[in-house]
């Protein structure tokens, strides 16, 4: 709980930049975790970095990917020659003081970028001065060369937990029955995070739980963060992101955590997920089962009708038989399980792009086993788009109709293998995303709509074979 505990932050410690160059960049640097702060209502990042750093990260993550918008008027020291030569601590001090004068927030998160790391500014010392005076301000070291926005997210959240949440008067208050903290998709990185977190919150509340969803429009903001220590359970709903946070909370507050690597998509996975959570927290079984029954009744009504399309009555469309994915592990795993496990596709090439910590790779690989009984996915870890392209296009396919789930970068790859492209990962510059979700019960149906609308359009507009008939 000491302010200095950030030094042994395990997520950051385990990050290493991949050895090769990267083309078609698929994540931001650690400073990009300022997006996670922006995703918390009434929290503001204060960035100590070069003039373009903060803007570039947020523009990439939000403005251009899914056109997500988001509040961007982030205080920044915009470091110049003077601060590089003489040090930038005084300038940061001036910026923090004026931020407190101009801006209005419940929490300020100071983040440092490459330059203060290289010139050796003592940022912690500056921030500590304000903390001592009772200002709700924390510091996360997010040097661009030390990590990406995934590890940066863990550093930022860890800073908020250790330096803000833990300092609340009621931090050690007793456990609130049925309260659960959810650590799942990385805000803004996944273009559908807002709708997805809303759906995840909805289904957990559906089984009678109280949910701290923590980020986005469905969250009550810092009120939820302050209640984190009182939760009965930390749910890590992602292949690896957030595990270190849950472990930390277990260490500090003794809160147990449940790790579910695959975000559920579709009734089968969602029902199993809800029962797993209910088991872990001891939720009322009747309440759980009645919610699941109600949701399934509606879901399968829709699925029954979709089955008419999927039966191929409209058989001029080439319904995909092989799923290929390029994206971060959370969505890749969830979507692979749904299309292989529920829709009956075969796994093709699955490329995981977020450069997870080395220590997490075996567990991520294991999560791709048994996508359907006896059907394994073999994910490849590759952050470079050029190599990802080669992996997809050079994969031998006999008699398969491929579909590709990826980012905008995959447009030409999809064209080369004749696959429809559904944009599900960063950067998605050909999608306008507001509240759409692809997970849970409702999201699954929207995912089917998007995927098969794409199939129909691709078949009718771009398929030369059919055009010739």
């Amino acid at each position: 709980m000491n302010f200095q505990t950030r030094i042994d932050d395990d997520a950051r410690g385990s990050f290493s930049a991949p050895p090769g160059p990267i083309e078609q960049v698929r994540y931001a640097c650690a400073l990009g975790a300022l997006a996670s702060v922006i995703a918390i209502d009434r929290a503001i990042p204060i960035t100590h970095c070069g003039p373009g750093c903060a803007t570039k990260q947020f523009q990439a993550l939000s403005s251009i990917s899914g056109y997500q918008g988001g509040e961007f008027h982030v205080p920044s020291t915009n470091i110049g020659n003077k601060e590089v030569i003489f040090g930038g601590a005084d300038r940061l001090d001036e910026l923090i003081a004026s931020t407190l004068k101009v801006m209005e927030a419940e929490l300020y998160v100071v983040q440092s970028g490459c330059i203060p790391g290289l010139v050796g500014d003592d940022v912690a010392n500056v921030v500590n001065g304000y903390r001592r005076r009772g200002v709700p301000i924390v510091f996360a070291e997010t040097l661009g060369y030390q990590g990406n926005n995934f590890t940066g997210h863990e550093s930022v959240v860890r800073a908020i937990l250790d330096q803000y949440v833990a300092k609340q008067a009621d931090a050690a208050a007793k456990v609130r029955k049925g309260l659960i903290n959810v650590w799942s998709l990385l805000p803004y990185q996944n273009p559908f995070w807002r709708g997805d977190l809303t759906e995840i919150g909805r289904i957990l509340e559906g089984i009678g739980l109280e949910v701290n969803i923590l980020f986005g429009p469905a969250s009550r903001g810092l009120e939820e963060w302050r209640a984190i220590p009182q939760a009965e359970l930390n749910l890590v709903l992602a292949p690896w992101l957030g595990i270190s946070l849950a472990k930390r909370l277990e260490e500090v507050y003794g809160t147990p955590f449940l790790h579910v690597p695959a975000i559920p998509i579709g009734a089968r996975a969602t029902g199993a997920f809800l029962r797993q959570v209910a088991d872990a927290i001891g939720a009322d079984a009747d309440c759980v089962e009645s919610f699941i029954a109600r949701e399934e009744r509606e879901y399968y009504h829709y699925l029954r009708d979709f089955a008419q399309f999927y039966a191929g009555c409209t058989s001029q469309y080439r319904l995909p038989s092989e799923i290929n994915i390029v994206g971060e592990s959370a969505y890749a795993l969830a979507i692979a399980k749904f299309f292989v496990g529920d829709l009956g596709l075969n796994p093709g090439v699955i490329v995981l792009t977020e450069n997870p910590p080395e220590s997490e790779l075996p567990a991520i690989r294991a999560a791709f086993r048994d996508l359907a009984p006896g059907v394994d996915g073999e994910p490849v870890f590759e952050a470079d788009g050029y190599l990802a392209h080669d992996l997809i296009t050079k994969h031998p396919r006999v008699g398969e109709y491929p579909i590709l789930f990826g980012s905008t970068w995959e447009a030409s790859t999809a064209g080369e293998i004749g696959a429809p492209l559904v944009e599900i990962s960063y950067p998605a510059t050909d999608e306008v995303v507001i509240a759409r979700s692809y997970v849970g019960y409702r999201g699954a149906l929207q995912l089917l709509e998007r995927a098969y609308t794409t199939v129909v359009r691709q078949s009718t507009e771009e398929n030369p074979e059919l055009a010739a008939i």
Binding site: A28, S76, E104
Partner: protein, 503 residues
């Protein structure tokens, strides 16, 4: 001071032009105090004084020169740009790619992703240096894409750790046999992102625009623009001139032709480094007439081009026919826009141009927001004093704010102005701010939109398209707020925080 092409680094705008980023007052005072009285006291004239710059303790994230340099290098065809940096600098790749594909659609090119690669430096590289990583990446870029030119852009990190980018580039150039052009664009080195234009233009001048003394073409006009559709050919083709459109995406051939042209025009003096350099190095004259925004300015701009390229006998007929062509539609737009209040936010000379356009359309402009201010240009020619010309030709702008796209200052300026609409560039914070304040906004992504006779129609029609959106923006404004303290939400002086605020 002449442009110095001997070193691989371009001098920043602050050094060359005395560029400032923070100022507040009347446009006529800024014009008086800057450019041709700047720094010397020699030609001050009555009332002239040294240009002062404000400062603000509070600041918000801006853009950097690296993004401008890299974006505009990336969209040059048959090249690969290497960003020698940690991964974050390269997160702009998706934006550049989107821009490039959009540009391709408008210019009729094959849409394809431009090629850029990040060396992806980690902590080890910060400790031991990254030149080996850079050398490997240059080889990788060459093997993967067989480019004709490779650019290597520096970053804050490489600037601080002192990687020998020039030496590595030279060494690899010998090895792979194509030009490897360093772009020194460390973000911290200039306080304004527009220095990035100078960086890429410096690289082009030094390495990609060779001297071709025996191939002079008296019908070729270099046009340096920010990017977008070619609105220039329709304007100058009737004079028998062909357009060599450079910057904002072009082939290497276009750059190789630069030295053979009869003259160079710039659609914005912020980009005039290349034009002045071409005149200095190859004697290609730079057209210095005020930019073609508004009818009279466009007439005079065409006359100056005709004069320099010896086509004066053709120009009056072109002017007359263009004026006649647009007159009915201009009259219609003027009637619909007359008395509307506009607010302009853009970069320096470009902002001055948009103000002239709006005033020609009958719009009242008492408030403007310029992202930086160049008190002079590289040519040092008073003809290029675009703010002075604006004030002289169309009158003063009462509230002229220079601010590097600062959201909090823009909020105060917009609150003071309370305009019917905002027209802006670098639409990031300004466009979303205006919308959220309930004000219809016209972001100009392609900055050629307002050029020449047709530009007046383009801009006028675009304003009319956005005005009805007030219904949407007001709804949003009524249901959201910005996280500023109430006193700042009420503030109407953008520089209220500055101790030495303008009197």
């Amino acid at each position: 001071m002449a442009i110095n092409l001997r070193t691989p680094q371009a001098e920043t705008r602050e050094q060359r032009l005395g560029t400032i980023t923070q100022w507040e007052g009347r446009a006529q005072d800024l014009a008086r105090d800057s450019a041709f009285t700047y720094g010397c006291g020699r030609d001050c004239g009555p009332g002239g004084r040294r240009l002062c710059e404000l400062s603000s303790p509070y600041s918000q994230a801006t853009m950097c020169a690296e993004q401008i340099a890299v974006t505009n290098a990336t969209i040059i065809k048959d090249t690969v740009v290497i960003q020698h940096s940690p991964i974050g600098c390269a997160s702009s790749q998706s934006f550049t790619s989107r821009y490039s594909r959009d540009l391709a659609a408008r210019r009729g090119w094959k849409p394809e992703d431009p090629k850029s690669i990040c060396t992806n430096m980690g902590e080890q590289d910060m400790v031991f240096g990254g030149v080996e990583r850079l050398a490997d990446t240059i080889r990788t870029a060459f093997e993967r894409h067989h480019p004709r030119v490779i650019f290597v852009a520096t970053s804050c990190a490489t600037g601080i750790i002192g990687d020998d980018v020039d030496g590595t580039a030279r060494q690899l150039e010998d090895e792979i046999g194509i030009p490897v052009v360093p772009l020194h664009c460390e973000g911290f080195k200039s306080r304004h992102w527009s220095s990035g234009w100078d960086v890429i233009e410096h690289g082009i001048l030094r390495r990609l625009a060779p001297q071709r003394p025996h191939e002079k073409r008296d019908d070729l006009l270099n046009v340096i623009h920010l990017g977008g559709p070619d609105v220039f050919s329709p304007l100058v083709n009737p004079l028998g001139l062909q357009v060599n459109l450079v910057m904002g995406g072009q082939s290497l051939e276009r750059l190789a032709d630069l030295s053979t042209a009869a003259a160079t025009v710039t659609m914005c003096f912020v980009l005039s480094y290349l034009a002045t350099g071409l005149e200095q190095e190859y004697g290609v004259p730079e057209i210095r007439a005020p930019l073609p925004y508004g009818l009279d300015a466009t007439d005079n701009w065409l006359r100056d081009i005709a004069r320099v390229t010896k086509r004066e006998h053709l120009v009056e007929a072109v002017i007359a026919s263009e004026r006649a062509r647009i007159a009915p539609e201009l009259a219609r737009l003027h009637k619909l826009l007359k008395g509307k209040k506009g607010f302009v936010a853009a970069g320096a000379a470009f902002a001055h141009g948009l103000i002239a356009d709006l005033r020609e359309l009958g719009v009242t402009v008492d408030d403007a927001f310029s992202f930086h201010h160049d008190p002079s240009t590289d040519s040092k020619d008073a003809e290029q004093d675009s703010l002075g010309h604006l004030v002289q030709a169309t009158g003063d702008v009462e509230h002229f704010t220079v601010s590097p796209d600062q959201h909090f200052q823009a909020h105060a300026a917009l609150k003071r102005a309370n305009p019917d609409f905002v027209i802006c560039r670098h639409s990031g914070s300004m466009a979303s701010l205006a919308g959220r304040m309930g004000i219809p906004v016209l972001p100009i992504f392609y900055s050629n939109d307002g050029i020449g006779y047709e530009g007046l129609l383009t801009i006028g029609r675009a304003i009319l398209r956005v005005l009805p959106r007030r219904r949407f923006y007001e709804d949003v404004a009524a249901h959201s707020r910005f996280p500023y303290q109430q006193w700042w939400l009420d503030e109407t002086n953008p520089y209220a925080l500055s101790a030495d605020a303008a009197e």
